[in-house]
Every structure is written in structure tokens, then in C-alpha cells.
């Protein structure tokens, strides 16, 4: 266990949870902090799961239901042109977080370097630390819209065993589009680094930009482990269903860990995921439209305040620079919550150097987002700190 990496992650993550606890005890909070979609899981998904459970008389293998792995393999073939063997290259997990944690245990030896763009989803720090890994941050910036730059990957990730890339990004909303993915792949395929491509927000990509799974880039299939799931694309966070796709020896290693740690993902949850893949009207398109509308309102609100932000290419978050209000984002967020009932997360909960940035989620209806900016407007002078 790497205590420094663990400590950093714990501190950052606990800051977010502390703010959520505070908000939970207040009335009429507009929550733009959390990453749990406010949309409910579509009814046909859980009705499908109830129906399948009724007819089932055996448990699931640790690797996950064959029907679900087959459905995921078909989807990758049909939507991405990527062919994976559902028996040996796909494993179902208890959400994306477990997928990442088990991946770290399977890939990282004590002292190994694990690179990730900065700012980052700090909940992954503990997984890296638990495996004994050393976190290496690759800087990103507003000038490049927080998109990872190939020269920075070469500079900072040299010698790293693993690169964790969340695309579209949490927390910034930056999208590494298809063209940039191909350029990144040129850098990565000459390295010794395994890439964990966390594509949990892949179905939420705006402005008709093309999203390309990193594994689909030339030379990347055999060195990329793809992580995804159903939590964000189908608003199924409570079901906890994620998956890993990649090299059979890696999948076997993760399976061995999972077998003695948590066993198979609960059958009912897997049935819900399977039902999601069978929907007559795919909810992903509907959700994308909803998030697109919210994103527009959010960008208009930030523009009206003259707040610079990362142009969100995908995902459910925006990343904004509130330095015109404060040089201390944590203090700003507490004041914002206290004075206006609007919850955002301070940037330093996604990396130490982001003291004037905030993460804002798109997980409230458009009218509530507009209301959040109205409240901010009314309290603007008192938010300066």
C-alpha cells in the first residue's frame, strides 16, 4: 500500500462526501456536485430484470452471465467494429469502480508508476495506492481544453506501467475525439504502458463529435483494457454493473481476484444490464438529448458570469475557473452552498493544484440549473472570498 497516494485520494474524496452530507441536511439544495444521474432507470430495464429473475433457477458464473457478455460483445462489434471473445475477453464487475480497483491489483506491483491526467477522478487514487502504485500526474490545461497532449504523455508517462484515461473526462468534461485518440495511440503503441481506457461516459458525447474507443485505434487492441458500464449511460448507478474488456490472461487474473473477493455481480443487476441492451427504444439517445439541453443552459449561465470553463465535449460534468470570485475553491463552494443552496465540488477534490476551479454536474433539470445561476447572481457579491 502506498500511503501518500492513498492519503491524497482519501482526503480529496472525503471532501466531496463531506459537502454532500452537509447538503443532505439542507432544504431546497440544487445539487450540481454528485455524479449520480438524477434520471431514474427506465422502467423497461427493471421490469425486464424482474421477468428474467422469475424464470432463473441457477446463479451466475463469476465472470458474469454468458447472455450479458454475449450482448456486450455484439454491441462492440456492431457499434465499434471491435471483435471480442465474450468467453475469454469480457468480465462483469460490481460497477466501474470495482473494475478499476481489480485492474490495479492485477497490473500494479509495489513501486510501479500509474499515470493519469491531472485533474483526475481521485477516487481511483486509493485503488492505485492499495496495489502499491505511485501516482504520476500528467498536466492538462485550459489552453488545450484539458485534452491530454501526446508530448505530455511522452514526457510524464515514460516508464509508467499503466495509464488510466477517463474519456470523456471526469471531472473536466474534456473529450479526446477520434482524431486525437489516433494521435495519442501513435505515442502509446511505441511505449511499454498498458492503457486502461475508462469509457463509462462514452454514450454521452456532444455536438456529433466522433468517439473512438482507444482499443479501436491501430496497434492498441492488445495493449488497451477497456472499462465501461451501465451506470451513467442508462442511469443505473444503484444496480452496480460495470465490465472489463481485454486480454484473456488479464481477464483470468481479475476473475481470480473477484472470485475470492466479491464473487459474481448480483444476478438481478446483471439481468437489468441485459435488459438495457435489449431495449426497443435505446434510452442512451434520449439521455444524451437531455444532457445536451442542460449543458447549453450551464454554458449560458457560466458565460453570463464571464467564468472560463473547459468546453465539455462529453460526459456529465463541467469544469470551471471561479478565480474571479475566489482563490480558494473550497471556501467558495462552502459559501455557495450556505448562501444559495447550490452544491458544486471544489477543484482541489480532483487534484491539489486546482484551487480556483470547480466541478459542476449536469445532473439537475434545466430549470433548476437556471435557478442555480439566478441564486448565484443574487448572492454574487457575498461569494467573493
Amino acid at each position: 500500500m502506498t500511503n501518500d497516494t492513498v492519503k491524497k485520494g482519501e482526503t480529496a474524496t472525503s471532501l466531496r462526501y463531506k459537502m454532500m452530507e452537509l447538503a443532505a441536511n439542507m432544504d431546497d439544495v440544487i445539487s450540481l456536485g454528485r455524479g449520480d444521474p438524477d434520471l431514474d432507470t427506465p422502467t423497461d430495464i427493471w421490469e425486464g430484470a424482474l421477468s428474467k429473475l422469475q424464470d432463473r433457477h441457477s446463479t451466475s458464473p463469476v465472470r458474469g452471465l454468458a447472455e450479458l457478455r454475449n450482448a456486450i460483445a455484439r454491441r462492440y462489434q456492431n457499434e465499434k467494429g471491435l471483435s471480442f471473445d465474450p468467453d475469454s475477453e469480457i468480465l462483469i464487475t460490481n460497477g466501474g469502480q470495482e473494475a478499476l480497483f481489480l485492474s490495479m491489483l492485477a497490473l500494479v506491483n509495489p513501486g510501479d508508476r500509474v499515470a493519469t491526467p491531472d485533474p483526475r477522478y481521485t477516487s481511483y487514487d486509493q485503488a492505485i495506492g492499495a496495489a502499491g502504485g505511485e501516482l504520476v500526474e500528467i498536466p492538462t490545461d485550459l489552453e488545450h481544453n484539458f485534452v491530454l497532449q501526446p508530448q505530455d504523455v511522452r514526457k510524464y508517462a515514460a516508464g509508467a506501467n499503466v495509464l488510466v484515461l477517463v474519456n470523456p473526462s471526469n471531472p473536466t468534461g474534456a473529450l479526446v475525439n477520434a482524431d486525437t485518440s489516433r494521435v495519442l495511440a501513435e505515442t502509446l503503441r511505441d511505449s511499454d504502458t498498458i492503457v486502461i481506457s475508462d469509457e463509462i461516459y462514452e454514450s454521452i458525447v456532444y455536438d456529433d463529435e466522433e468517439f473512438l474507443s482507444l482499443a479501436a485505434c491501430d496497434g492498441m487492441r492488445d495493449r488497451t483494457l477497456t472499462l465501461s458500464g451501465f451506470s451513467k449511460s442508462y442511469a443505473m448507478t444503484g444496480f452496480r454493473v460495470g465490465y472489463l474488456i481485454g486480454d484473456p490472461t488479464f481477464i483470468a487474473a481479475v476473475e481470480a481476484l473477484k472470485e475470492c473477493m466479491s464473487g459474481p455481480c448480483p444476478l438481478f443487476s446483471q439481468f437489468a444490464a441485459l435488459s438495457a441492451t435489449e431495449q426497443a427504444n435505446d434510452s442512451r439517445a434520449e439521455f444524451l438529448e437531455i444532457y445536451s439541453g442542460r449543458r447549453k443552459v450551464m454554458m449560458e449561465g457560466l458565460d453570463s458570469f464571464g467564468i472560463p470553463y473547459c468546453h465539455p465535449g462529453g460526459g456529465i460534468f463541467m469544469w470551471a475557473d471561479i478565480s474571479k470570485f475566489s482563490s480558494d475553491a473550497e471556501k467558495f463552494c462552502y459559501q455557495l452552498l450556505e448562501k444559495t443552496g447550490v452544491l458544486m465540488f471544489p477543484g482541489n477534490s480532483f487534484g491539489e493544484r486546482w484551487q480556483t476551479w470547480v466541478r459542476i454536474s449536469l445532473l439537475a433539470p434545466e430549470d433548476r440549473i437556471a435557478c442555480a445561476f439566478d441564486r448565484m447572481s443574487g448572492a454574487a457579491s457575498s461569494l467573493c472570498c
Binding site: 421490469e47 480497483f101 492485477a106 443505473m236 481476484l257 475470492c260 473477493m261 464473487g263 455481480c265
Partner: protein
């Protein structure tokens, strides 16, 4: 059989999982039937919007139920802040080890049979059979172990920092009685699963229970590992357990 070769990834797997490449056979076994009324119960809660993350340590009613049940079989009753719901007993053990600060440099003395030897091996945690005298960072005690007094005394005297007691499927089991946990220190961290509750085979549930100060530390790792346990599974457990107590 899948053809395994020395792939780019295979050459870079961590030493802790340096297992020979293998194809595990699909393990499926017959499950008990879904209890009557459970599907309607789940439908009601899902329709009410219970499709999101639950409270991170678990649904409070289920934690309270487990905390009370521990008291009923002779242990220290726990409130909600002393219980976490997990995906099975293995996950409970893993997050407990991390939360207690135990790692590959720690020594675990085992009293009784350890069902989690493979997990401990994979994590590189060294174990020894408890002989009543040695120092260790923690004692792992199976609930069925005999001659536990010396182990309890060592922990009480501070010679060993932690006691982890694995209950397996004891909780809510018809074999339990009011004395099962007699003599177990109230400082102990208890682990177990809910597999003895009929109809829960499909739902994969376990728990950690103990002093709130320790449980709080363990909770940060549960959160890091899988955020929270699947909500429908927890809701199903409430139905199955409460149904059992009223049947």
C-alpha cells in the same frame, strides 16, 4: 480452450496474480427459488425511484437489522454506524484488512479454519496458525474455532491490535442461538454473509460490523472499492429477512 500466449498484457501482470493462465470453468449452481412476493416488493421500490446509489455504507434499515441480529446471538448490538453492507464476505474481509491498515507487510494469525486463504495469498498477506503466544498484527478467528480465550485475552491486553471474526453464514441462520457470539470482544470486527437467508443466493450480500470508529475507516475502502452495494440486492435482503422473521 482459449489459446494463451505471452501477450503484451500477460507479460505485465502483477506478481500477486502470477497464476498460470487458465480458463476457469463457468461456475453455476442451482439457486433457491425467489421467495413469493419478492418481485412485487422490488417492483414497488424500483418504481418509487430506488435505482440510484444507496447510502454508501448501505440501506440504513438493513444495517440496523444486522446490527440488532448480532446482539440477538450474543454479540454487541450495533447501530447503523457500526455496520456496512458489502458484496459478500470476501469483500467484507478485504475492506476490513485495508481499513485496519493491514497489508502485505502485516502478519495475520489464524485461529480455526480460514475460508479466505486464496484472497490472503493473492494479496500477499502472510498468515500463521495461532499458537497462543506469538505477536501478530491481527488475529483472524473463524467463529467455529475452539479455545479462543487466549486470543481474546491477547487482544484485550493490547498484545495484538485487531481481532477479525468471520461468521460465514451464521447470521439469520436457524442454527444460531443467543450464545453464538458470547466471549467475542466488543472491539472485534465481525464479517459474514447473508447466504443462510432463503432466496438470497442471487443477490450476493455480506457485511462488516464493529466499533463505529473502526467501521468508519473500513467504510472509506468499501467506497473506494465499489462505492456501495447494489440497491436491489439490499432491498431484497430486507424482504427476505423480515419475511423470515414473520413466517
Amino acid at each position: 480452450m482459449t489459446e494463451h500466449r505471452e501477450t503484451f498484457v500477460a507479460k505485465r501482470l502483477a506478481k500477486r496474480v502470477s497464476i498460470p493462465p487458465h480458463d476457469l470453468p463457468p461456475v453455476e449452481f442451482d439457486a433457491s427459488p425467489v421467495p413469493e412476493g419478492l418481485l412485487d416488493w422490488l417492483r414497488e421500490h424500483l418504481a418509487a425511484g430506488e435505482t440510484h446509489y444507496t447510502a454508501r455504507p448501505g440501506i440504513p434499515e438493513l444495517r440496523a437489522l444486522i446490527g440488532r441480529e448480532i446482539g440477538k446471538i450474543g454479540g454487541t448490538s450495533r447501530d447503523t454506524d457500526g455496520v456496512i453492507i458489502t458484496h459478500g464476505e470476501g469483500e467484507a474481509l478485504y475492506v476490513a484488512l485495508l481499513g485496519l491498515g493491514l497489508n502485505s507487510e502485516s502478519k495475520l494469525a489464524v485461529l480455526g479454519t480460514c475460508r479466505h486463504g486464496t484472497l490472503l495469498d493473492l494479496l500477499g498477506i502472510s498468515t500463521t496458525d495461532f499458537n497462543g503466544t506469538e505477536s501478530a498484527d491481527a488475529i483472524y478467528r473463524d467463529i467455529a474455532a475452539e479455545n479462543t480465550e487466549r486470543a481474546e485475552a491477547l487482544v484485550a491486553a493490547g498484545g495484538v491490535r485487531f481481532m477479525i471474526v468471520a461468521l460465514g453464514k451464521l447470521l439469520f441462520s436457524s442454527e444460531s442461538d443467543g450464545n453464538k457470539l458470547r466471549g467475542v470482544s466488543d472491539a472485534a470486527v465481525l464479517l459474514g454473509n447473508l447466504d443462510s437467508v432463503p432466496g438470497l443466493d442471487h443477490f450476493r450480500l455480506g457485511f462488516v460490523a464493529g466499533p463505529p470508529s473502526l467501521v468508519k475507516r473500513i467504510q472509506t475502502w468499501k467506497q473506494a472499492l465499489s462505492i456501495c452495494t447494489a440497491g436491489p440486492s439490499q432491498r431484497a435482503a430486507l424482504f427476505a429477512i423480515e419475511g423470515r422473521s414473520t413466517s
